[in-house]
């Protein structure tokens, strides 16, 4: 039995600083395991930082590693005193603490300026061998889709949308797909960067500027704005969310796609003249329209590619069987839903709502049998969600309140809040966010910027490089 005397560096909120509690420390990470599993007595006033110091002390690390602590698989965000008061526990009990490496607060890296609002971002995880010069994709309200390299320059531009682009996704390293208010889905071929390395590429860019692509494979079928697109490379399928209350299922292979029911004609929406141009297009495999409100978000089930989920302003999450195009399940919530992301390891669907919160649903259980967790903190619509590439518990959310928040489903409050670096007069809305392993948290918004924040720490290698 050893009592660790830690100077109360973090001022505990409780008055009773003298009290002590018995804890046991466990971890699943063998590299940072505490030598012996002995129980310790620690002051009740300790918070995460103090406990982290204890672990570092026990490990005798030369450089302190930040840790997060879990009690009953719930993240400890208070002091131990407050925690046991909140839970109604006695200080004579033993607390079993599990610790994990904590992620560092995401720090601002860069902002890439666009000519108009940035509606959507996506990052491709390229294999290290295949150097993809431009892993970051952005959709902009000027109707142009851009790819960016990590040094902040546009590599290629895809122009052709006659309205603002609402969502962009990487199909694979060579193809991107974009949807927009012109009701079309376009697949663009990324111009080959060749085997040039970055410097050569930079030279090329310096000389020629971004490569512009205007030819696209066009898919049409929605009657109103296409709000969101989800892609599945294994089955070569795409799901689209339309404001015309329909969910579209499409194939990425243009030649296999059925012909469009009507010819897509696009007009310049902001132009002087109503110019009508008819473009060759292909139609959807099926249009599933049992939503009663505009569909705002759509995803594939990460485990089962024949299942899709869609959220809509009609307050529902619908589960679709993509093989038959049949509606499997409808889950009604109490607020209009705006975004969706799946946490496959936990079998959870996270939905952002117009009521300023994120709700967690289990799609397997019956709707009336489960209680949904609600994560509150945003002060406006939650329009974008992206899961963490490193932790199965974490995801980030983009909101119209101008912040991106990092959440852990085990904690009630958000871990970190990322605000916009561009100081505009009003809080600029954030429209899209993507959390990638290589680039970090990429978000785009009303401030016409794509902002990159990076906060890693779970990965030992990345931690050691810092």
């Amino acid at each position: 039995m050893s009592t660790v005397d830690v100077p109360a560096g973090d001022s505990g909120s409780s008055s009773d600083t003298t009290g002590q509690i018995r804890i046991t420390l466990t971890t699943r990470d063998p590299s940072v395991a505490v030598p012996d599993d002995v129980p310790l007595y620690v002051p009740l006033a300790l918070k995460r930082y103090g406990l982290s110091e204890i672990v570092n002390h026990l490990l005798a690390t030369e450089k302190p590693i930040p840790f997060d602590f879990l009690i009953n698989s719930e993240l400890l965000r208070l002091s131990l005193q407050d925690y046991i008061t909140q839970k109604g526990l006695s200080s004579e009990q033993t607390l079993a603490l599990e610790y994990t490496r904590s992620i560092l607060p995401p720090t601002f890296l860069a902002s890439y300026v666009h000519p108009d609002w940035v509606s959507s971002v996506d990052v491709i995880e390229a294999a290290p061998s295949n150097v993809n010069a431009a892993p970051i994709l952005s959709g902009c309200y000027d109707g142009i889709v851009r790819t960016w390299n990590l040094s902040g320059s546009v590599v290629s531009e895809f122009g052709g949308h006659t309205g603002p682009v609402k969502a962009v996704r990487w199909l694979d390293v060579n193809k991107v797909v974009s949807v927009g208010m012109d009701r079309s889905i376009r697949i663009w071929k990324v111009p080959a960067a060749g085997d040039q390395d970055d410097e050569v590429m930079a030279d090329v860019l310096g000389s020629n500027g971004p490569q512009t692509v205007t030819s696209a494979r066009i898919f049409a079928g929605h009657k109103s704005t296409v709000e969101d697109i989800a892609v599945n490379t294994e089955t070569s399928r795409m799901l689209s969310a339309g404001a015309d209350n329909a969910v579209g299922l499409w194939t990425t292979n243009y030649k296999e796609a059925p012909p469009a029911s009507g010819s897509l004609s696009t007009r310049e929406m902001t132009g002087k003249r109503r110019r009508k141009t008819t473009l060759p297009s292909r139609g959807p495999i099926s249009m599933m329209d049992s939503h009663s409100g505009p569909v705002t978000g759509v995803i594939f089930d990460p485990k089962d590619h024949t299942v899709g989920y869609s959220v809509s302003l009609d307050h529902t999450i619908k589960t679709w069987d993509l093989v038959t195009g049949a509606l499997v399940d409808t889950r009604t919530t109490s607020f209009p839903l705006l975004s969706i992301v799946a946490l496959p390891e936990l079998s959870l669907l996270c939905c952002g709502s117009s009521a300023r919160h994120v709700t967690l649903h289990d799609p397997r259980a019956a709707a009336d049998a489960t209680t949904t967790t609600t994560l509150t903190g945003h002060t406006n619509f939650v329009v974008g969600l992206s899961r963490s590439p490193e932790s199965e518990y974490m995801f980030c959310s983009a909101s119209h309140d101008g912040t991106v928040r990092v959440w852990d489903v085990r904690a009630q409050n958000s871990l970190y809040v990322i605000s916009r670096e561009s100081k505009t007069a009003e809080k600029a809305k954030v429209f899209g966010v993507h959390w990638s392993k290589s680039a970090g948290i990429v978000s785009g918004g009303e401030d016409k910027r794509m902002q990159i924040n990076r906060g890693t720490g779970l990965d030992v290698s990345s931690n050691s490089t810092q």
Partner: protein, 832 residues
């Protein structure tokens, strides 16, 4: 009923009572009649039913039947049977009588007649007279002859008629006769069906008792029957078992077996358990009745004085005669007093009795009960410590306090004395202000009114209506989520398209802008007029056409914003273009001299490629546009237009008409009823409701405001909410009154707009104070329940520019979201 049963049983149980000869019978009848009259007289104030029962009892004794009319229907069948066996009994007992059966029949006939008479009597007051008549008839009939057969038949038919009077059809009467047989006298005699005794039948408790009377049973030994039942039917001898059966019976004794034969039925006499018990008790010489020999004693004679004495015996004499023993003892004491052995009233001697006693309260007035309205005079305040001649040091004023006291005005002084200290009471001077103080006290008592005031002890909270908490009435807008920025002037008009995706706004800068609702992105704008402000913008309620009506100056523009797909746009173009042909046709001849109300024209090229398809030029500034729900008609209001202030435009024919000939005042707003062919028109003071199908005024609401700004109709059509420039919002229930049901005064400045939500029980009012008040307003389907209005939320966010705040509001078609247009050049979305 119980009485009736007893009455019925009587003749059967006691046949000898009816046995006397004819002469006696008549006498007894007379006696009975008299008896009955007395009874009737006595019971005159009894209830009808009771009188009838009495009468019936008497009548049945004389073998007549006066049926209780009130339940005749129930007993008709029973009567018949009764008649039947009465006849039999008669036959049985009057063998020796000279009267033959015809007489009986005649008596039967009388029954019928009596029934009829009884019926008549029931409705008349003179029961007795009728009954007397009846009796007379009975008497005559009883001595009637054979040759009155015809009369009998006629009477019988009359009787059956009388019966049919009592709700039983004659056909049913016939049905009761099973067959006719020839009687002993050779006349047809009806044999009736067996009566099915049902629950309400009186005879259900009649048993098959042997009615042979005192005749020994052995007289029937030779017959297969052992007697007759009350109906004169034979009671057959029960089958006796064979010798084997009786042997078996003697071996296996059945329960209750006695070995005796029941004299009545001829069957084995079986005794029940109770009867056996009874026999056993009798054998033991115990009390055979249901008596408990070991019952608790009741103390009849106890020390308690009973209210009603048990005995009526007079008080014994000894209670009144002086006791001799006492006299003896008293004489003993008297003797002792005379001899001086006892001194009565001897004064007590001792130091404790020497003190004289004074009555302290001798001169005290008897305590008077004050008058009920008397209020005692307030008591003077008691002297405090500092008023003492020798107060403690701490009460004495310091030098400064004394100066301050001296300097202040006597009126303003807190205390009208200064504490002073005297070494002894002897040195205390005369109290200076004694006279003044007495005088003031007298004035107080004399002039101060002492009035009893009734104080209402009511908890003010209990007077407040019980309203549900706003938390329970969610969802309602609480927060500004999106601000639509871009207009360079006051945003005067706002409208949301039926799908809830596109918000249209019009502003003083002459532009109409369309916004993406969620992101606040402007997707389309057009300048309608460089000089005039856009006064009104309304999307067509027709889904899938995308027509936007906007008004600027005296022109109304019908636009097709290029934000929809081809299908929608084509449909919108077709709708708008369909009327050009109609417009080209010449106007009717009588209107040819008149200038048309307004002109439908094609837009200029500049406007045309901005998206405007039709321009309607009116005469005066169009302030407001309202669509009909089907999207073909819309009204425009130009307040300065006098009798042409309200115009109804038809898109499919490019036609405009003015529904009113005369000007009714300055028209503020006109709206179509949500589903009825009605037009609601608000002037400055009134909201008038016109029925368009009959072209008449249905109702005129009086909100009591000086100048109405706006009104809206509840989606169910029976309620109207109005907003006025004098800060008031009023709710009208059209079923209740033309006056407001509720007046809501929550705004600090003029109310600009009021709107109902199309689906949810919400409405709101926007005001120049920059606030929007959101209310919950449930309208119940139950007409008796008044609408429930609950203030929910004040939405603050619009800034006041040149004393103008929120100018227009509109609700999202599905969600509890509210759009507002403000004078600060922005529109806002408020979400739940």
């Amino acid at each position: 009923m119980a009485k009736r049963k007893i009455a019925r049983k009587k003749p059967a149980a006691d046949p000898p009572a009816t046995a006397p000869g004819t002469g006696n019978r008549t006498n007894s009848k007379l006696q009975l009649v008299q008896q009955r009259q007395r009874a009737t007289e006595e019971d005159e104030d009894n209830e009808d039913g009771y009188i009838d029962d009495e009468a019936e009892e008497v009548e049945e004794d004389e073998e007549d039947e006066l049926e209780d009319e009130s339940d005749l229907g129930d007993y008709v069948s029973e009567d018949d049977e009764y008649d039947h066996f009465e006849g039999l009994i008669d036959g049985a007992i009057s063998d020796s009588e000279s009267e033959d059966e015809a007489g009986d029949d005649a008596a039967e006939g009388d029954d019928g007649e009596n029934d009829a008479d009884e019926e008549a009597a029931m409705f008349g007051e003179d029961d007795e007279v009728v009954q007397q008549e009846e009796t007379a008839e009975v008497i005559t009939n009883s001595v009637s002859d054979d040759d009155e057969e015809d009369e009998y038949l006629s009477k019988y038919s009359a009787a059956s008629e009388a019966e049919s009077f009592s709700s039983i059809s004659s056909g049913e009467d016939d049905n009761r006769v099973a067959y006719h047989t020839t009687g002993a006298d050779g006349k047809p005699r009806p044999i009736y069906h067996e009566i099915d005794p049902h629950y309400s039948s009186d005879d259900s408790d009649l048993e098959d008792t042997n009615t042979i009377g005192n005749v020994p049973l052995s007289a029937y030994d030779e017959y297969p029957h052992i007697g007759y039942d009350i109906n004169g039917k034979r009671i057959m001898r029960p089958a006796t078992g064979s010798a084997l059966d009786s042997l078996l019976d003697s071996i296996e004794v059945p329960t209750g077996w006695t070995g005796l034969i029941d004299r009545e039925s001829g069957a084995d006499l079986k005794l029940t358990q109770e009867e056996l018990e009874l026999v056993k008790k009798i054998q033991l010489g115990e009390n055979a009745g249901d008596v408990n020999p070991y019952e608790d004693t009741i103390e009849w004679f106890s020390s308690k004085t009973e209210v009603t004495p048990l005995s009526a015996a007079p008080e014994p004499k000894r209670r009144f005669v002086p006791s001799k023993h006492e006299a003896k003892r008293i004489m003993k004491i008297v003797k002792a007093i005379r001899e001086g052995r006892i001194v009565p009233n001897k004064p007590k001697v001792g130091p404790e009795y020497d003190q004289p006693v004074y009555d302290l309260w001798a001169d005290d007035l008897p305590e008077q009960q004050p008058h009920i309205m008397h209020i005692p005079a307030p008591k003077m305040a008691k002297p405090t410590n500092d008023e003492s001649y020798n107060p403690p040091e701490e009460y004495l004023p310091s030098e400064e306090e004394r100066d301050a006291w001296n300097k202040t005005d006597p009126v303003d002084r807190e205390k009208d004395y200064l504490p002073r200290k005297f070494s002894s009471l002897r040195t205390v001077p005369r109290y200076e202000s004694f006279i003044r103080e007495r005088f003031e006290r007298s004035l107080d008592l004399y002039l101060a009114p002492r009035v009893r005031k009734n104080k209402l002890n009511i908890d003010p909270d209990s007077l407040l209506p019980k309203l549900p908490s706003p938390q329970d009435l969610r969802p309602f807008p609480i927060k500004c989520s999106v601000t639509y920025r871009g207009h360079k002037g006051r945003v005067r008009a706002i409208s949301i398209d039926p799908s809830g995706l596109w918000l249209a706004t019009g502003a003083d800068d002459g532009t109409v802008r369309i916004w993406e609702v969620l992101t606040g992105r402007e997707v389309w704008n057009t300048i309608l007029d460089d000089d005039e402000a856009v006064q009104s913008v309304e999307w067509s309620p027709l889904k899938g056409c995308g027509i936007l009506a906007a008004s600027a100056g005296e022109r109304v523009f019908l636009c097709l914003p290029p934000i929809f797909d081809d299908e929608t746009e084509t449909m919108g173009q077709e709708l708008l273009a369909a009327g050009w042909g109609y417009a080209a046709q010449p106007a009717p001849t009588d209107d040819i001299n008149k200038e048309p109300l307004c002109k439908w024209t094609k837009p200029s090229t500049k406007l045309a490629y901005q998206g405007v398809d039709v321009v309607i030029v009116c005469r005066k500034t169009v302030k407001q546009i309202a669509w009909h729900r089907k999207g073909d008609y819309f009204t425009s209001v130009s307040p300065e237009g006098a009798n042409m202030a309200v115009l109804v435009h038809q898109i499919s024919k490019h036609n405009s008409q003015s529904p009113f000939r005369k000007s009714k005042g300055i028209i503020q707003r006109a709206l179509f009823h949500p589903f009825k062919p009605m037009l609601y028109v608000a002037t400055q003071r009134y909201v008038r409701i016109y029925d368009l199908s009959t072209q008449s005024l249905t109702k005129a609401l009086q909100p009591g405001a000086r100048w109405l700004s706006s009104f809206d109709i509840h989606p169910q059509g029976d309620n109207v909410v109005t907003g006025s420039y004098d800060k008031r919002v009023t709710w009208h229930d059209l079923d209740l009154s033309t006056k407001p049901y509720r007046t809501l005064r929550y705004h600090a400045r003029a109310v600009r707009d009021v709107r109902f939500h199309a689906r949810l029980p919400l409405f709101c009012s926007a005001s120049d104070d920059g606030h929007i008040n959101v209310f919950h307003g449930t309208v119940y389907d139950d007409l008796l329940k008044n609408p429930l209005l609950v203030p929910l939320k004040v939405l603050k966010g619009h800034s006041v520019v040149q004393s103008l705040g929120v100018l227009k509001v509109t609700w999202h078609p599905k969600e509890a979201w509210l759009f507002s247009a403000g004078a600060d050049g922005t529109a806002k979305l408020w979400t739940s």
